[in-house]
Symmetry: D3
Subunit: 280 residues, 6 copies
């Protein structure tokens, strides 16, 4: 279960409110690289955790931290909206800068919230929980987490570039640091589980004898006109999981043309489809 403190995890200060930056910050709240996603992702991974409890414990910690990040960013959005123009009136239209802000800000920051954050991205697309990855396989989840923190840190550095507000830069310098830690933390789990050669291929509990091993380490080229293998780490040499040797092949079909049966009359295809089925 969960508790709270009324204070923020880290200072949020806006020196010069900017409604356009408020719109940009939404990507870090409700975007696919954002904090609602990682909050729910780590918590759902914890709540479905099976196996050693140390992993569950850790996921619960970081999932809880992320709630506070949404809080910080939502506060930052609200502060950036202080004093935002709201009037599409003639006099406003005469000031192109105001017009630009009015055209550019998220309309729902005024219309739907009266100057507060929304659980949506920078384009106003609501967060959708299909982005929460919690597969039941710990290693697969760790890579999903590294990916989330990597795209999250890229996003935060881009936001950092967009602003010269000292308060906002300070807040972002904190969030960027946390992303550094979280990348390292999920990688640490992979190392704790034995590193690449032990962890891969994920899931490592499926017997590789049951996969069609002829295709397990072959780079298959789809070039219409075959070319020799390029020199690259992924076309020759040992595989990263240490269980095979990379090769390079030009693809050609191993299967036949598919041949579906005639349509079921109750499905009411057109007569043309039923009177002349394939193979007749």
């Amino acid at each position: 279960m969960f508790y709270h403190d009324r204070k923020l995890q880290y200072t949020v200060r806006v020196d010069t409110p900017n409604p356009l930056f408020a719109k940009m910050l939404q990507q870090a709240i409700g975007g696919v690289e954002g904090e609602i996603r990682v909050m729910l992702q780590y918590l759902f991974q914890a709540w479905g955790s099976r196996g050693p409890t140390k992993y569950r414990d850790m996921l619960l910690e970081t999932g809880t931290e992320e709630i506070g990040h949404i809080e910080m960013l939502s506060t930052a959005v609200a502060l950036n909206l202080e004093g935002a123009p709201v009037e599409l009136k003639d006099e406003a239209a005469k000031n192109p800068l105001v017009a630009a802000v009015l055209g550019g800000m998220n309309p729902r920051h005024f219309l739907s919230t009266g100057h507060a954050a929304l659980p949506e991205d920078a384009n106003g697309t609501p967060f959708d929980a299909s982005h929460v990855y919690a597969s039941g396989n710990l290693a697969a989840d760790m890579y999903a987490n590294v990916a989330a923190e990597a795209t999250g840190r890229v996003l935060a550095t881009r936001l950092w570039e967009m602003t010269d507000d000292p308060g906002m830069k300070d807040m972002l310098s904190f969030l960027i640091a946390r992303d550094t830690m979280h990348q390292n933390q999920w990688l640490a789990v992979i190392e704790e589980m034995g590193g690449l050669a032990k962890v891969h291929p994920i899931p490592n509990s499926f017997p590789q004898t049951e996969e069609n091993q002829k295709f397990s380490y072959a780079f298959m080229s789809t070039l219409r006109t075959p070319e020799p293998a390029p020199e690259a780490r992924w076309t020759s040499g040992p595989s990263l999981d240490g269980k095979g040797e990379f090769s390079y092949v030009s693809m050609s079909p191993a299967g036949d043309e598919p041949n579906l049966g005639a349509p079921d009359p109750r499905g009411h295809a057109q007569m043309d489809q039923m009177t002349d089925p394939p193979g007749l």
Copy 2:
């Protein structure tokens, strides 16, 4: 640009059609772990690729291969739907097995397609392209790709467990093998870029001096009642990127209580909110 061959990349054979398995296979087509996602993800990464062309070339190859995987799975769905019952009539209702199939199969496999595949998951949720990650940062994208192939291979092994149809098991043994290769392939890119210590923190082009380094390698515990650090790879020792030392701290607020201004009168909050703002 793209070309095709009418034949399939690998044989698709269904020995005993099973409409419930057709529903399950949809997860591998239009699910978040599925093939439409990786197809679009690799292609959009290629089409937006900036930097050395060898990465673009490789992404284009594997993105193109994935189109053929959707084709194989769609064919498998259609073949599993051959002869599916469609009548919710009295005599059908008397056969509980038929009733179970009718209740359990994807209704749109008959109603919307007349016995063919859909670009949606096993619950009938349409694929939504917000799952396509192409961040412009090659390392972040590679982790998103490893995550996609890891959850994809987990899914494929679960589908393999659900069926004893020899044709379907053979097709899945091929797809599982390709997922093995693709996991290795994306990891190979990370190695080619220098491995963890060179690649992390992602993005490695942001100067770490600008992040708040006090928090870059600290595991922050949110436990209400603090506990000593557990022994784990992520609480002490060198960080995985080799640029710091893990530590463990119990969280406490570094910020204040947020204090938003009074509501803008034009936003029409309730009078109670405007007559007694915070701080008065």
Copy 3:
């Protein structure tokens, strides 16, 4: 069944077309506070109505009225788009005001409709019918309706503040009035059913003896560091439904740590999860 008149329920006049205001008006058409939502909500409540027919009759009336509101707003959007600039050309770019409009208007107002309304919100998010609440419980539905009309009227007053176009202000003064009525109308149903003390807790057909009454009227504080109860209507005194007395307690766990079983081997977790399950 339904009929129509070619005339509008109320005058729609635009004195000075403004493509940015057209974008804003979309929130009242396809936003979560908008008219498509209430139209479908009232009609679906009517169509699923069980119990006294007077409620069904009333819902059908107001649901039908709302179709005409969508019509009015769609007309207003089209009229605001008359003469909108469409050219992102060099000469246009030289006029910052035109550029602001081009950057700020809904691109689909030209690209997808050729200057007409869309069933989407001010950010271009399409209306999604999951917002239609029709629970089968009349009291629950009435509160959903009051909430819809309350957020709807807030939205309409904000739109009223954004414009000084006399025609648009007149149309909004009508819609704001209808929202006043509709708020009152749904509250009247609650009174007709006996008011708070008879209606709550919703559903009032579930025997309260079956709920865990220790927790039915307790405000549970999640503050990490407990504080004394604040003076407020919700921490002491009789509950609003007259069936209990408010109290204030600091939360602590009544349950244990959850303990899920080991993973099913067929679900292919990682080996680490299976060899060291919790409790071993």
Copy 4:
């Protein structure tokens, strides 16, 4: 900021696992009446709160409590999935009961999570944050909250009816009690703000002189063939906000037929539309 305890807010015990009930419970996690929605709704209302801090404080408390409810329900889902059948094989198909479970359970409970909860509803539709209402108007938000807790309690009582598992009934008796409290709590805010006559029409900060008062308290009938006013609380007598008197009128158009201009040639309508515009 936020903290956690590893224990649950209330006991979660499943005596007889039932994968179909696991599917049903998802509605209380990720459905529109569910806990993710209220958690985010109360927290976003708190984070955007402007005006007296006592409301913000209260919202933060209950929002934090709701995180623990998602945790309880997710645990209940995982426990109901213990030992679920996963094989669509011939021998399974011979047991119609197993087939019914396989057809009826949420496929992603095995395929995507390996027997754990998902942030989606009982039909597998992912939670979508457009359902988070935080309007900036406290009264409007309170009604949205009452509506959420009313539909939430209706849902919980229906789940209670579906099961005879003593553990599940006990957990639901707790959640039903909390919904009772939360309905009362949000109603208490409305009372604290002065009750219906002071709070309505929402927003009460918009001058009613600016609305078209001819239509503010009129029930407008859309019946094709007008009928006399039915006897009902909403057709005569004082309005609930005490600011008007209900009346009953048969609707007729107050506006004209809309007349949009000819299409902009650059929008490429068909020639027929351009050569014969209305009014010519």
Copy 5:
């Protein structure tokens, strides 16, 4: 504006309620081939209509009719849910037929509506208004309408095949007839505008001299290994719009390899991408 009658457009009678058929009928309400879509589509086309008013008038008529179709189908859903089993209890589990219905019915038909219809499809995916096509080009819209009525009639005939309930078959025989009319009606508009040769290519107001006419009537084959043109209406002979002659060509690239610039440093790609850009 709109009016209603309390009676239905056509009789809705269910002789033997069937909750599984209720689920299937949802596709005709909220599916992409369903009635909410055509209702909104025809009304939005009408409300944005520019050009001769006769088209607007007609669209308004049929859009209004469709509201009544949703009403009929929603009534049919509710009637099919009468007496539906709701208990997942031990005794129910012993009756496989009941279990099949419980597993197969739409859970929200009980949990969310208490036995009434929802604005969603047969898989529980909510209707999403992005399916409303109203392009501002009358001919394009007519084809969208024919497509909607064609898939709608296919759907209705499939539903007709699934049931032997005389009441349901009668209702469907009416809806199928209306789909026949509506297909003809939209085709009649195309004829009224002059038929294929006058209407195409859509939009017919764009000067064909501005398109790259070398490619306007060429079937471009993407076969990896070119084959001679198959005999078909689309590879030779006059085009359907009478403005060209079909030809058949094997595709080859007319463009170059794309060459994007180096990444913007502020976008924080990886260092590897920036130190070795293409072309160096």
Copy 6:
């Protein structure tokens, strides 16, 4: 299966990068009128094709061509983003033109991709695969395809009007030409199947004797106040399918008021609904 060439199908050249035009182009990539939709639509139609193989072969060709169109447009987006401003800083704010671009461009073109395309529309709504129509009925699908190419060509001509960049106009002149061909191609299939009179009503495999023929060719007017039939192709004369004669009737209800049963007590409606059901 599929192959690729690294070169583009047609030249993509941007003479003057324009980030606002990049946003507009997104509609042609991920909009409902865009290329991802037709690519998936034609391929899924091919993969589910039953009946003569010549149709499958053709669909596969054009579906494959469309992949290359997405590639071209994605390249065009990336090239239009070269040199886009990213800084919301004081000095930028002083240049209204830059501010307009910053407010108007798609924020995710920088934040999420670092200057590359996204699989979403011009408003940032991600592509959603529910727009893929593949009904199993060839004629219904052909109309869906004509509609897609008609709205697609309308969109392309509007984009053509928005720009005066010679490179972009050249690329669009190619895509517009391909849309011309594809409209003709799908119409050719309808002709090959016998033309309107043979193809309609779709599906032509359902016996018209089973539809309620009284309503098959009647234009039903929903005007509240009946008017004489307007002169139009759809109110009199032979139907387009040649199987009936159009007529014109004013609608009146053929059904009764719906009468749903009392609520199931286990569904927990309010007591008021249960104590006074309809008919008592």
